[in-house]
Amino acid sequence: MNKMLNLSSNPHIRDEVTTSEIMRDVVIAMIPTTLYGIIQWGFNAALVVILTVAFAVLSEYAYEKFMKMTITIGDWSAAVTGLILALNCPPDIPVWIPCVGAVFAIIVIKMLYGGLGKNWMNPALGARCFLLISFAGKMTGWTVVGPDAMSGATPLAFMKAGGDMAKVDLMNLFLGRIPGTIGEVSKLCLLIGAAYLIIKKVISPKIPCIYIATVAVFTLLFGGHGFDINYVLCEILGGGLIFGAFFMATDYVTSPITPKGQIVYAIILGVMTGLFRLFGGSAEGVSYAIILTNIIVPVINLKTIPKAFGREDEK
């Protein structure tokens, strides 16, 4: 034996999963809905997706290069942010707008707070809300889908305006033949991606399920449609709830880490979404609900620290 032996603290073996594999899985899970959006809406949607991801990754690279930090774009997290932001944009948006958003998401929301793991707000959603405020008209200009599909407004806006419920076809909502952002419309594709993440144990269904259930209960109670399952399903499938619940509310960095805290967080998300949707100015509420609840996550964590094994009975 001529070599020096390695020394380190236990454990001496490690699980194979790495941060970059997890982030790559999130990107893989969004491929079905991305493809659906591109096929449904065409060239501009494809351009938005490619450029937003590119700008997100490049701005992280440029920032780290400029600040003489280790380059971390290999961990795929910037790509995840860029892709989520792109999928949250309307298909016909001028491409420079999401590109500005990508730079804002990475530089302002993520890197200035210390990079991966340190940001207290979901970068993609923070940037989306920044764009919604800055370019309100362009961020809510919806593209009409097919002759037999609904036209003009998203299903949620249509219902909020008091539209005839009979005209809403649940199957169109589920498959994605409705106006909306590039990645939020096809619930089928989103659920395929979500199932992939759950099977790969990247996310737990806990937060999404409680979140969606809370929205369902809230709209049932306060929606003003009585006990109308059809209406509740429209609320669940009509907007960005499925996308938000499975891909954004489950963001590790900005959601609570304690088991109880995750339940509290999901319920608050549901109530906030319901409030924004039913009593707010806009028909949508998922993005704002998530970024506003992100703010109180540290408090939720602190208040829900579990008691250690064998110390459950103490004060």
């Binding site: 390695n6 001496h12 094994f309």
Partner: protein, 464 residues
């Protein structure tokens, strides 16, 4: 009965196939034997031999240095060559008795004589165990006789034989169960004769169905002995996890198993008790698994205490290629070795040699708050938060977050996708908290003494 498992834990690659079917082979050392005086928890033993003395197999060469201590027994015959500082597996350099082995294995009188435990009183049995130098052979090395003398002996209703062997790669307990099941049952019967109200439970993970079957057959007809099949999951053999899995009772860091009516001992320790009480053989051997992908012929060996690690590896067939890392114990909690010139001690463990050390080759990245460590922690802690307290050396925050409950099992570091050294940080923080506690206690004591001095002075002055 309990729930057969616990919350949390991990499922690492178990590597047991390498050595599990290799029967135990007895090794005879050629080189000098080294017996550290501190190979247990508690006060070091005091040597009772001198340089030049002739010693025999089974002879006591160092006596217990206190109540929580254990004597050291010679495993060969020969001449005491020196009493000097020697390196041990844990990295400490301690006094050790060095014996030149004369290869005759001449034993003390009565060594190996059969003895009927039913004719012995409780105190006699405990004394035999104490004088035999028996300590927990699972790795901690707590003197077994102390465990057999809890305050409330009638309240002990479970004696658990820890044969979970949840550490990957290790197979020595499994071989014990397969080859000498009657000694485990026998040792358990000896122990149960001390605890009138206790039920004996042999706890085995369900990845060893043949051992469970064999022990169940051997235990047939024993009304107060049963075999519990536990879910295979690391750290199932952790004392607190084991007690919870079998009895549903929970203990924390400030409690002893006896507070939950339990006494827990490792399977090989129970075999050692049997050999000491029924065969008049004090603790002079240890079962060691030599395994890992760097080992030419993985196997299980019965080695005399004091034998050199290098010699064990040589006799076992050596390495097939240079290992990157050699571990004393399992890969989850074992101690890495930087040289092999160390003796087998009661509290040292198996030898695991790995060709590739994944820990050194993977960079640590930022915590992404994924929560895998929270899910894996068998003590229900939040390792990410503890890590923050650890990085800022905030001992009060660390203690407030229940950091002192950490059992250092390594699950959090194992699952971390960012490869952060969580367990290492907690080990350091626990020592820091304990050091602060000791310093505070010492300060309080000094102040109290100074105050008492002051008071006597003033009363003396008043008297004057």
């Amino acid at each position: 009965m309990g729930v057969t498992t616990f919350k949390g834990g991990v499922h690492p690659y178990d590597g047991k196939d390498l050595a599990k079917d290799q029967a135990i082979v007895e090794l005879k050392p050629q080189g000098v034997m080294v017996y550290p005086v501190s190979q247990h928890i508690g006060a070091p033993a005091k040597p009772v031999v001198e340089k030049g003395d002739h010693v025999l197999v089974g002879q006591k060469i160092a006596e217990a240095g206190g109540f929580v201590s254990s004597p050291v027994i010679c495993s060969v015959s020969g001449t005491v060559k020196a009493i000097e500082k020697r390196l041990t597996a844990g990295g400490a350099v301690v006094d050790a008795i060095v014996v030149d082995n004369d290869q005759n294995y001449e034993a003390i009188e009565g060594f190996g004589q059969a003895r009927d435990y039913t004719k012995l009183s409780r105190d006699e049995i405990v004394n035999i165990v104490k004088e035999a130098g028996i300590v927990g052979l699972g790795g901690a090395g707590f003197p077994t006789s102390v465990k057999l003398m809890p305050k409330n002996i009638d309240k002990i209703d479970y004696f658990l034989v820890n044969a979970a062997e949840c550490e990957p790669y290790l197979t020595s307990d499994y071989r014990d169960m397969m080859e000498t099941p009657e000694k485990i049952i026998g040792g358990l019967k000896v122990i149960l004769s001390i605890f009138p109200n206790a039920k004996g439970v042999i706890c085995v993970e369900d990845n060893k169905p043949d051992a469970i079957k064999l022990l169940s057959e051997k235990a047939q007809g024993e009304s107060n002995i049963e075999v519990a099949a536990l879910q295979t999951k690391y750290p199932q053999g952790g004392e607190r996890q084991l007690i919870y899995a079998v009895t549903g009772r929970k203990i924390n860091s400030s409690m002893l198993p006896a507070d939950a009516g339990c006494v827990v001992d490792n399977a090989d320790t129970v075999v050692a008790i049997y050999e000491a009480v029924c065969e008049s053989k004090p603790l002079v051997r240890k079962i060691v698994t030599v395994t890992g992908d760097a080992v030419a012929k993985p196997g299980n060996f019965k080695v005399p205490l004091g034998m050199n690690y290098q010699e064990i590896i040589d006799q076992a067939g050596g390495f097939k290629a240079d290992p990157e890392k050699i571990i004393c114990g399992g890969p989850m909690m074992g101690i890495p070795l930087f040289k092999l010139d160390i003796p087998v001690a009661k509290n040292s463990s198996s030898i695991l040699a790995l060709l590739h050390d994944p820990v050194s080759s993977e960079p640590t990245t930022a915590c992404i708050n994924c929560g895998r460590c929270v899910e894996a922690c068998p003590e229900n802690l939040v390792p990410t938060m503890l890590m923050k307290a650890g990085l800022s050396k905030d001992t009060s925050k660390f203690a407030e977050l229940y950091g002192m409950e950490c059992i250092e099992c390594g699950c959090c570091s194992y699952v971390c996708p960012a490869k952060r050294p969580l367990t290492q940080a907690f080990k350091q923080m626990k020592r820091l908290v304990n050091a602060e506690k000791r310093a505070a206690a010492a300060k309080a004591k000094a102040e109290a003494e100074a105050k008492a001095k002051e008071e006597t002075k003033s009363t003396e002055e008043v008297k004057k």
